[in-house]
Point group: C3
Chain length 151, copies 3
Protein backbone atom coordinates (compact mmCIF):
# COMPACT_ATOMS: atom_id res chain seq x y z
CA UNK A 1 0.00 0.00 0.00
CA UNK A 2 1.20 3.45 -0.83
CA UNK A 3 0.03 6.54 0.95
CA UNK A 4 -1.00 9.41 -1.27
CA UNK A 5 0.59 11.73 1.23
CA UNK A 6 0.65 12.26 4.97
CA UNK A 7 -2.64 10.51 5.52
CA UNK A 8 -3.87 10.39 9.12
CA UNK A 9 -7.30 9.17 10.17
CA UNK A 10 -9.40 12.12 11.25
CA UNK A 11 -12.24 12.40 13.70
CA UNK A 12 -15.69 12.33 12.14
CA UNK A 13 -16.60 15.89 12.91
CA UNK A 14 -17.57 18.34 10.21
CA UNK A 15 -15.06 21.10 10.07
CA UNK A 16 -17.58 23.68 9.07
CA UNK A 17 -21.21 24.59 9.39
CA UNK A 18 -23.20 25.19 6.22
CA UNK A 19 -22.95 28.96 6.37
CA UNK A 20 -19.17 28.64 6.71
CA UNK A 21 -18.72 25.97 4.10
CA UNK A 22 -18.17 28.39 1.29
CA UNK A 23 -16.64 31.26 3.16
CA UNK A 24 -14.46 31.73 0.10
CA UNK A 25 -17.20 31.07 -2.44
CA UNK A 26 -17.09 33.00 -5.69
CA UNK A 27 -18.91 32.77 -8.99
CA UNK A 28 -17.14 30.09 -10.99
CA UNK A 29 -15.63 30.79 -14.37
CA UNK A 30 -17.45 28.85 -17.06
CA UNK A 31 -16.12 28.22 -20.52
CA UNK A 32 -18.79 26.99 -22.94
CA UNK A 33 -18.85 23.18 -23.12
CA UNK A 34 -15.57 22.71 -21.22
CA UNK A 35 -14.78 21.24 -17.81
CA UNK A 36 -14.73 23.99 -15.20
CA UNK A 37 -12.06 23.81 -12.55
CA UNK A 38 -14.71 21.97 -10.50
CA UNK A 39 -15.07 19.45 -13.34
CA UNK A 40 -18.65 20.12 -14.41
CA UNK A 41 -19.81 21.26 -17.84
CA UNK A 42 -22.41 23.72 -19.08
CA UNK A 43 -23.73 24.08 -22.59
CA UNK A 44 -25.53 27.30 -23.53
CA UNK A 45 -24.01 29.02 -20.53
CA UNK A 46 -25.65 32.29 -21.53
CA UNK A 47 -28.93 30.80 -20.29
CA UNK A 48 -27.63 29.58 -16.92
CA UNK A 49 -28.50 31.65 -13.84
CA UNK A 50 -26.35 30.71 -10.89
CA UNK A 51 -27.30 31.79 -7.35
CA UNK A 52 -25.03 32.70 -4.50
CA UNK A 53 -23.14 29.84 -2.84
CA UNK A 54 -24.54 27.25 -5.20
CA UNK A 55 -22.54 24.02 -5.32
CA UNK A 56 -22.21 21.70 -8.34
CA UNK A 57 -20.44 18.34 -8.19
CA UNK A 58 -17.83 16.80 -10.44
CA UNK A 59 -18.96 15.29 -13.76
CA UNK A 60 -22.31 17.07 -13.69
CA UNK A 61 -23.66 18.21 -17.05
CA UNK A 62 -26.01 21.16 -17.49
CA UNK A 63 -27.74 21.86 -20.79
CA UNK A 64 -29.08 25.38 -20.32
CA UNK A 65 -30.44 25.88 -23.82
CA UNK A 66 -33.96 26.70 -22.58
CA UNK A 67 -32.81 28.12 -19.26
CA UNK A 68 -31.50 26.62 -16.03
CA UNK A 69 -31.79 28.58 -12.78
CA UNK A 70 -30.05 27.44 -9.61
CA UNK A 71 -31.16 29.69 -6.78
CA UNK A 72 -28.99 30.62 -3.80
CA UNK A 73 -27.52 27.72 -1.80
CA UNK A 74 -28.82 25.06 -4.21
CA UNK A 75 -26.59 21.98 -4.18
CA UNK A 76 -26.15 19.53 -7.06
CA UNK A 77 -24.24 16.29 -6.50
CA UNK A 78 -21.71 14.63 -8.76
CA UNK A 79 -22.66 12.92 -12.04
CA UNK A 80 -26.00 14.73 -12.43
CA UNK A 81 -27.65 15.78 -15.68
CA UNK A 82 -29.73 18.95 -15.68
CA UNK A 83 -31.51 19.15 -19.02
CA UNK A 84 -33.50 22.12 -20.20
CA UNK A 85 -33.26 20.38 -23.56
CA UNK A 86 -33.22 16.63 -24.00
CA UNK A 87 -32.43 15.76 -27.58
CA UNK A 88 -33.29 12.10 -27.04
CA UNK A 89 -36.89 12.90 -26.08
CA UNK A 90 -37.11 16.23 -27.89
CA UNK A 91 -38.32 17.74 -24.63
CA UNK A 92 -37.49 21.29 -23.58
CA UNK A 93 -38.32 23.84 -20.92
CA UNK A 94 -36.68 25.88 -18.19
CA UNK A 95 -35.36 24.03 -15.13
CA UNK A 96 -35.66 25.85 -11.81
CA UNK A 97 -33.86 24.55 -8.72
CA UNK A 98 -35.03 26.74 -5.86
CA UNK A 99 -33.24 28.09 -2.84
CA UNK A 100 -31.46 25.53 -0.70
CA UNK A 101 -32.72 22.52 -2.68
CA UNK A 102 -30.35 19.54 -2.74
CA UNK A 103 -30.02 17.11 -5.64
CA UNK A 104 -28.26 13.81 -4.95
CA UNK A 105 -25.53 12.25 -7.03
CA UNK A 106 -26.32 10.58 -10.40
CA UNK A 107 -29.70 12.31 -10.73
CA UNK A 108 -31.34 13.40 -13.97
CA UNK A 109 -33.54 16.51 -13.96
CA UNK A 110 -35.73 16.68 -17.06
CA UNK A 111 -36.81 19.78 -18.99
CA UNK A 112 -39.48 21.99 -17.48
CA UNK A 113 -39.02 20.71 -13.92
CA UNK A 114 -39.07 22.94 -10.84
CA UNK A 115 -37.54 21.63 -7.60
CA UNK A 116 -38.96 23.57 -4.63
CA UNK A 117 -37.16 25.32 -1.78
CA UNK A 118 -35.36 23.03 0.66
CA UNK A 119 -36.46 19.95 -1.26
CA UNK A 120 -34.17 16.91 -1.29
CA UNK A 121 -33.81 14.60 -4.29
CA UNK A 122 -32.18 11.24 -3.52
CA UNK A 123 -29.21 9.90 -5.42
CA UNK A 124 -29.89 8.01 -8.67
CA UNK A 125 -33.25 9.70 -9.24
CA UNK A 126 -34.99 10.55 -12.50
CA UNK A 127 -37.05 13.69 -11.95
CA UNK A 128 -39.63 14.34 -14.65
CA UNK A 129 -42.15 16.37 -12.71
CA UNK A 130 -42.10 19.19 -10.20
CA UNK A 131 -40.92 18.56 -6.65
CA UNK A 132 -42.78 20.54 -3.95
CA UNK A 133 -40.97 22.71 -1.43
CA UNK A 134 -39.55 20.73 1.52
CA UNK A 135 -40.36 17.40 -0.13
CA UNK A 136 -38.01 14.42 -0.17
CA UNK A 137 -38.20 12.43 -3.40
CA UNK A 138 -36.26 9.54 -4.89
CA UNK A 139 -36.46 6.89 -7.56
CA UNK A 140 -36.83 6.31 -11.28
CA UNK A 141 -39.10 8.16 -11.78
CA UNK A 142 -38.79 10.14 -8.55
CA UNK A 143 -41.68 9.87 -6.08
CA UNK A 144 -42.26 11.70 -2.84
CA UNK A 145 -41.06 9.90 0.30
CA UNK A 146 -42.17 12.25 3.06
CA UNK A 147 -42.56 15.88 4.03
CA UNK A 148 -39.72 17.20 6.11
CA UNK A 149 -40.66 18.24 9.63
CA UNK A 150 -40.26 21.92 10.19
CA UNK A 151 -38.93 22.43 6.65
CA UNK B 1 -28.46 35.99 -8.53
CA UNK B 2 -26.12 36.53 -11.43
CA UNK B 3 -27.08 36.00 -15.01
CA UNK B 4 -24.67 33.98 -17.10
CA UNK B 5 -25.44 36.26 -19.98
CA UNK B 6 -28.42 37.78 -21.73
CA UNK B 7 -30.78 35.09 -20.54
CA UNK B 8 -34.38 35.40 -21.73
CA UNK B 9 -37.03 32.76 -21.15
CA UNK B 10 -37.84 31.05 -24.41
CA UNK B 11 -40.99 29.40 -25.67
CA UNK B 12 -41.08 25.63 -25.33
CA UNK B 13 -40.88 24.87 -29.00
CA UNK B 14 -38.11 22.76 -30.47
CA UNK B 15 -36.08 24.83 -32.83
CA UNK B 16 -35.36 21.95 -35.12
CA UNK B 17 -36.80 18.69 -36.31
CA UNK B 18 -34.69 15.54 -36.00
CA UNK B 19 -33.48 15.59 -39.57
CA UNK B 20 -32.37 19.19 -39.12
CA UNK B 21 -30.83 18.75 -35.70
CA UNK B 22 -27.41 17.92 -37.02
CA UNK B 23 -27.44 19.90 -40.19
CA UNK B 24 -23.80 20.61 -39.46
CA UNK B 25 -22.97 17.11 -38.22
CA UNK B 26 -19.52 15.75 -38.93
CA UNK B 27 -17.53 12.75 -37.76
CA UNK B 28 -16.00 13.73 -34.45
CA UNK B 29 -12.29 13.70 -33.88
CA UNK B 30 -11.38 11.08 -31.30
CA UNK B 31 -8.11 10.94 -29.46
CA UNK B 32 -7.52 7.62 -27.68
CA UNK B 33 -8.67 7.77 -24.05
CA UNK B 34 -9.11 11.55 -24.00
CA UNK B 35 -12.17 13.77 -23.70
CA UNK B 36 -13.48 14.67 -27.13
CA UNK B 37 -14.70 18.20 -27.65
CA UNK B 38 -18.13 16.77 -26.78
CA UNK B 39 -16.71 15.45 -23.51
CA UNK B 40 -17.02 11.70 -24.04
CA UNK B 41 -14.20 9.19 -24.07
CA UNK B 42 -13.36 6.12 -26.15
CA UNK B 43 -10.81 3.46 -25.43
CA UNK B 44 -9.66 1.20 -28.29
CA UNK B 45 -11.02 3.69 -30.79
CA UNK B 46 -9.75 1.54 -33.66
CA UNK B 47 -12.62 -0.84 -32.89
CA UNK B 48 -15.37 1.80 -32.78
CA UNK B 49 -17.65 2.12 -35.79
CA UNK B 50 -19.61 5.34 -35.75
CA UNK B 51 -22.64 5.83 -38.00
CA UNK B 52 -23.86 9.00 -39.65
CA UNK B 53 -25.44 11.60 -37.34
CA UNK B 54 -24.87 9.55 -34.24
CA UNK B 55 -25.03 11.56 -31.02
CA UNK B 56 -23.11 10.80 -27.81
CA UNK B 57 -23.64 12.72 -24.57
CA UNK B 58 -21.17 14.30 -22.18
CA UNK B 59 -19.32 12.04 -19.75
CA UNK B 60 -20.13 8.89 -21.69
CA UNK B 61 -17.44 6.21 -21.74
CA UNK B 62 -17.03 3.67 -24.54
CA UNK B 63 -14.70 0.70 -24.25
CA UNK B 64 -14.48 -0.58 -27.81
CA UNK B 65 -11.88 -3.27 -27.23
CA UNK B 66 -14.08 -6.05 -28.66
CA UNK B 67 -15.97 -3.75 -31.02
CA UNK B 68 -18.69 -1.14 -30.57
CA UNK B 69 -20.91 -0.24 -33.51
CA UNK B 70 -23.30 2.73 -33.38
CA UNK B 71 -25.40 2.70 -36.50
CA UNK B 72 -26.74 5.81 -38.20
CA UNK B 73 -28.81 8.17 -36.04
CA UNK B 74 -28.17 6.20 -32.84
CA UNK B 75 -28.32 8.47 -29.78
CA UNK B 76 -26.51 7.88 -26.49
CA UNK B 77 -27.29 10.08 -23.48
CA UNK B 78 -24.90 11.59 -21.00
CA UNK B 79 -23.06 9.53 -18.35
CA UNK B 80 -23.47 6.19 -20.18
CA UNK B 81 -21.03 3.28 -20.21
CA UNK B 82 -20.81 1.17 -23.34
CA UNK B 83 -18.64 -1.82 -22.55
CA UNK B 84 -17.44 -4.34 -25.11
CA UNK B 85 -15.06 -5.35 -22.34
CA UNK B 86 -15.91 -5.22 -18.65
CA UNK B 87 -12.83 -5.90 -16.58
CA UNK B 88 -14.85 -6.19 -13.38
CA UNK B 89 -16.86 -9.14 -14.73
CA UNK B 90 -14.31 -10.31 -17.27
CA UNK B 91 -17.07 -10.20 -19.87
CA UNK B 92 -16.45 -9.28 -23.48
CA UNK B 93 -18.21 -9.14 -26.84
CA UNK B 94 -19.20 -6.68 -29.54
CA UNK B 95 -21.89 -4.10 -28.71
CA UNK B 96 -24.22 -3.16 -31.55
CA UNK B 97 -26.56 -0.16 -31.23
CA UNK B 98 -28.72 -0.24 -34.31
CA UNK B 99 -30.13 2.51 -36.46
CA UNK B 100 -32.08 5.20 -34.64
CA UNK B 101 -31.91 3.46 -31.23
CA UNK B 102 -31.88 5.81 -28.24
CA UNK B 103 -30.08 5.11 -24.97
CA UNK B 104 -31.07 7.24 -21.96
CA UNK B 105 -28.72 8.98 -19.61
CA UNK B 106 -26.72 7.03 -16.98
CA UNK B 107 -27.24 3.70 -18.75
CA UNK B 108 -24.78 0.80 -18.81
CA UNK B 109 -24.63 -1.43 -21.91
CA UNK B 110 -22.84 -4.69 -21.20
CA UNK B 111 -20.60 -6.69 -23.54
CA UNK B 112 -22.24 -8.67 -26.32
CA UNK B 113 -25.50 -6.71 -26.28
CA UNK B 114 -27.41 -5.66 -29.40
CA UNK B 115 -29.98 -2.86 -29.13
CA UNK B 116 -32.42 -3.08 -32.05
CA UNK B 117 -33.55 -0.42 -34.51
CA UNK B 118 -35.66 2.37 -33.03
CA UNK B 119 -35.50 0.81 -29.57
CA UNK B 120 -35.55 3.10 -26.54
CA UNK B 121 -33.62 2.37 -23.33
CA UNK B 122 -34.73 4.43 -20.32
CA UNK B 123 -32.36 6.47 -18.21
CA UNK B 124 -30.49 4.66 -15.40
CA UNK B 125 -30.81 1.25 -17.05
CA UNK B 126 -28.45 -1.71 -16.90
CA UNK B 127 -28.70 -3.60 -20.18
CA UNK B 128 -27.25 -7.10 -20.09
CA UNK B 129 -29.25 -8.77 -22.84
CA UNK B 130 -30.42 -7.90 -26.31
CA UNK B 131 -33.17 -5.33 -26.82
CA UNK B 132 -35.56 -6.08 -29.70
CA UNK B 133 -36.25 -3.56 -32.44
CA UNK B 134 -38.85 -0.93 -31.45
CA UNK B 135 -38.89 -2.10 -27.84
CA UNK B 136 -38.89 0.23 -24.84
CA UNK B 137 -36.87 -1.11 -21.93
CA UNK B 138 -35.79 0.27 -18.58
CA UNK B 139 -34.48 -0.80 -15.19
CA UNK B 140 -31.65 -2.61 -13.46
CA UNK B 141 -31.54 -5.02 -15.19
CA UNK B 142 -33.49 -3.56 -18.10
CA UNK B 143 -36.85 -5.16 -18.88
CA UNK B 144 -39.25 -4.52 -21.71
CA UNK B 145 -42.01 -2.02 -20.97
CA UNK B 146 -44.06 -2.04 -24.18
CA UNK B 147 -43.83 -2.27 -27.93
CA UNK B 148 -44.02 1.07 -29.64
CA UNK B 149 -47.04 1.59 -31.87
CA UNK B 150 -46.08 1.97 -35.46
CA UNK B 151 -42.40 1.79 -34.57
CA UNK C 1 -20.70 4.01 -41.63
CA UNK C 2 -17.12 4.95 -41.01
CA UNK C 3 -14.62 2.68 -39.37
CA UNK C 4 -12.55 4.23 -36.61
CA UNK C 5 -9.64 2.20 -37.86
CA UNK C 6 -8.92 -1.33 -39.00
CA UNK C 7 -11.80 -2.81 -37.09
CA UNK C 8 -12.17 -6.58 -37.30
CA UNK C 9 -14.59 -8.62 -35.20
CA UNK C 10 -12.68 -10.56 -32.58
CA UNK C 11 -13.42 -13.82 -30.82
CA UNK C 12 -14.94 -13.48 -27.37
CA UNK C 13 -11.98 -14.73 -25.44
CA UNK C 14 -10.33 -12.69 -22.73
CA UNK C 15 -6.80 -11.89 -23.69
CA UNK C 16 -5.56 -11.94 -20.16
CA UNK C 17 -6.18 -13.56 -16.83
CA UNK C 18 -6.62 -11.30 -13.80
CA UNK C 19 -3.07 -11.66 -12.58
CA UNK C 20 -1.83 -10.72 -16.04
CA UNK C 21 -4.26 -7.90 -16.62
CA UNK C 22 -2.04 -5.26 -15.14
CA UNK C 23 1.33 -6.70 -15.94
CA UNK C 24 2.40 -3.14 -16.56
CA UNK C 25 0.51 -1.62 -13.63
CA UNK C 26 2.07 1.32 -11.85
CA UNK C 27 0.88 3.83 -9.27
CA UNK C 28 -0.99 6.49 -11.21
CA UNK C 29 -0.01 10.11 -11.08
CA UNK C 30 -2.71 12.16 -9.41
CA UNK C 31 -3.00 15.91 -9.65
CA UNK C 32 -5.38 17.39 -7.07
CA UNK C 33 -8.88 17.81 -8.50
CA UNK C 34 -7.85 17.15 -12.11
CA UNK C 35 -8.60 14.32 -14.52
CA UNK C 36 -5.91 11.67 -14.32
CA UNK C 37 -4.79 10.09 -17.56
CA UNK C 38 -7.39 7.43 -16.72
CA UNK C 39 -10.03 10.14 -16.48
CA UNK C 40 -10.96 9.90 -12.82
CA UNK C 41 -10.64 12.65 -10.22
CA UNK C 42 -9.54 12.79 -6.60
CA UNK C 43 -10.00 15.62 -4.14
CA UNK C 44 -7.87 15.68 -1.00
CA UNK C 45 -5.46 13.23 -2.60
CA UNK C 46 -3.20 13.39 0.47
CA UNK C 47 -5.82 11.25 2.23
CA UNK C 48 -6.13 8.60 -0.48
CA UNK C 49 -4.39 5.27 0.06
CA UNK C 50 -4.15 3.28 -3.14
CA UNK C 51 -3.28 -0.43 -3.08
CA UNK C 52 -1.32 -2.43 -5.60
CA UNK C 53 -3.05 -3.15 -8.93
CA UNK C 54 -6.16 -1.21 -7.99
CA UNK C 55 -8.30 -0.21 -10.96
CA UNK C 56 -10.51 2.90 -11.17
CA UNK C 57 -12.84 3.59 -14.09
CA UNK C 58 -13.35 6.69 -16.18
CA UNK C 59 -15.43 9.53 -14.73
CA UNK C 60 -15.16 8.22 -11.18
CA UNK C 61 -14.91 10.85 -8.45
CA UNK C 62 -13.21 10.28 -5.10
CA UNK C 63 -13.52 12.74 -2.24
CA UNK C 64 -10.82 11.60 0.18
CA UNK C 65 -11.17 14.40 2.71
CA UNK C 66 -11.76 12.01 5.61
CA UNK C 67 -9.74 9.17 4.11
CA UNK C 68 -10.35 6.67 1.30
CA UNK C 69 -8.44 3.39 1.27
CA UNK C 70 -8.52 1.06 -1.73
CA UNK C 71 -6.72 -2.13 -0.84
CA UNK C 72 -4.78 -4.26 -3.29
CA UNK C 73 -6.67 -5.44 -6.39
CA UNK C 74 -9.81 -3.43 -5.56
CA UNK C 75 -11.72 -2.49 -8.71
CA UNK C 76 -13.97 0.54 -9.11
CA UNK C 77 -16.12 0.88 -12.24
CA UNK C 78 -16.77 3.97 -14.30
CA UNK C 79 -18.96 6.86 -13.10
CA UNK C 80 -18.69 5.98 -9.40
CA UNK C 81 -18.64 8.41 -6.47
CA UNK C 82 -16.59 7.49 -3.42
CA UNK C 83 -17.38 10.01 -0.71
CA UNK C 84 -15.57 10.25 2.59
CA UNK C 85 -17.30 13.62 2.79
CA UNK C 86 -20.74 14.32 1.38
CA UNK C 87 -21.47 18.02 1.56
CA UNK C 88 -25.12 17.48 0.63
CA UNK C 89 -25.78 15.32 3.69
CA UNK C 90 -22.97 16.70 5.83
CA UNK C 91 -21.82 13.13 6.39
CA UNK C 92 -18.19 12.16 6.77
CA UNK C 93 -16.00 9.19 7.63
CA UNK C 94 -13.29 7.03 6.14
CA UNK C 95 -14.21 4.73 3.25
CA UNK C 96 -12.42 1.38 3.12
CA UNK C 97 -12.63 -0.84 0.03
CA UNK C 98 -10.91 -4.06 0.96
CA UNK C 99 -8.72 -6.42 -1.02
CA UNK C 100 -10.18 -7.65 -4.30
CA UNK C 101 -13.58 -5.99 -3.77
CA UNK C 102 -15.34 -4.93 -6.97
CA UNK C 103 -17.63 -1.91 -7.27
CA UNK C 104 -19.89 -1.75 -10.35
CA UNK C 105 -20.36 1.23 -12.60
CA UNK C 106 -22.44 4.25 -11.48
CA UNK C 107 -22.26 3.31 -7.80
CA UNK C 108 -22.18 5.73 -4.87
CA UNK C 109 -20.24 4.78 -1.73
CA UNK C 110 -21.19 6.93 1.24
CA UNK C 111 -18.95 8.19 4.05
CA UNK C 112 -17.91 5.71 6.71
CA UNK C 113 -18.61 2.60 4.62
CA UNK C 114 -16.37 -0.48 4.53
CA UNK C 115 -16.70 -2.92 1.62
CA UNK C 116 -15.29 -6.31 2.61
CA UNK C 117 -12.75 -8.51 0.85
CA UNK C 118 -13.94 -10.05 -2.44
CA UNK C 119 -17.33 -8.39 -2.11
CA UNK C 120 -19.18 -7.39 -5.27
CA UNK C 121 -21.37 -4.28 -5.51
CA UNK C 122 -23.70 -4.22 -8.52
CA UNK C 123 -23.86 -1.34 -10.96
CA UNK C 124 -26.10 1.62 -10.06
CA UNK C 125 -25.97 0.91 -6.33
CA UNK C 126 -26.14 3.33 -3.43
CA UNK C 127 -24.07 1.92 -0.57
CA UNK C 128 -24.72 3.54 2.80
CA UNK C 129 -23.75 0.71 5.13
CA UNK C 130 -20.96 -1.82 5.37
CA UNK C 131 -20.79 -4.72 2.93
CA UNK C 132 -19.54 -8.02 4.41
CA UNK C 133 -16.65 -9.93 2.90
CA UNK C 134 -17.65 -12.08 -0.09
CA UNK C 135 -21.15 -10.57 -0.20
CA UNK C 136 -22.92 -9.55 -3.37
CA UNK C 137 -25.04 -6.42 -2.95
CA UNK C 138 -27.00 -4.17 -5.27
CA UNK C 139 -29.72 -1.55 -5.29
CA UNK C 140 -30.65 1.87 -3.97
CA UNK C 141 -29.93 1.45 -1.12
CA UNK C 142 -27.75 -1.61 -1.66
CA UNK C 143 -28.99 -4.88 -0.14
CA UNK C 144 -27.32 -8.26 0.02
CA UNK C 145 -28.22 -10.65 -2.79
CA UNK C 146 -26.34 -13.82 -1.83
CA UNK C 147 -23.12 -15.11 -0.36
CA UNK C 148 -20.64 -16.21 -2.95
CA UNK C 149 -19.85 -19.93 -2.93
CA UNK C 150 -16.28 -20.57 -2.01
CA UNK C 151 -15.63 -16.82 -1.88
Amino acid sequence: MKHGGGYQPKPCIADSDPTERFSNWDYPEIEEGKLTRYNWIVQHKENLVLGYKTDIGAFTYINAKYGVVLEDYAQIGSHCSIYSFSTIDDKMGQVLIKRNARIGSHTVIMPGVTVGENAVVGAHSFVNKDVPANAVVAGVPARQLQLKQGG
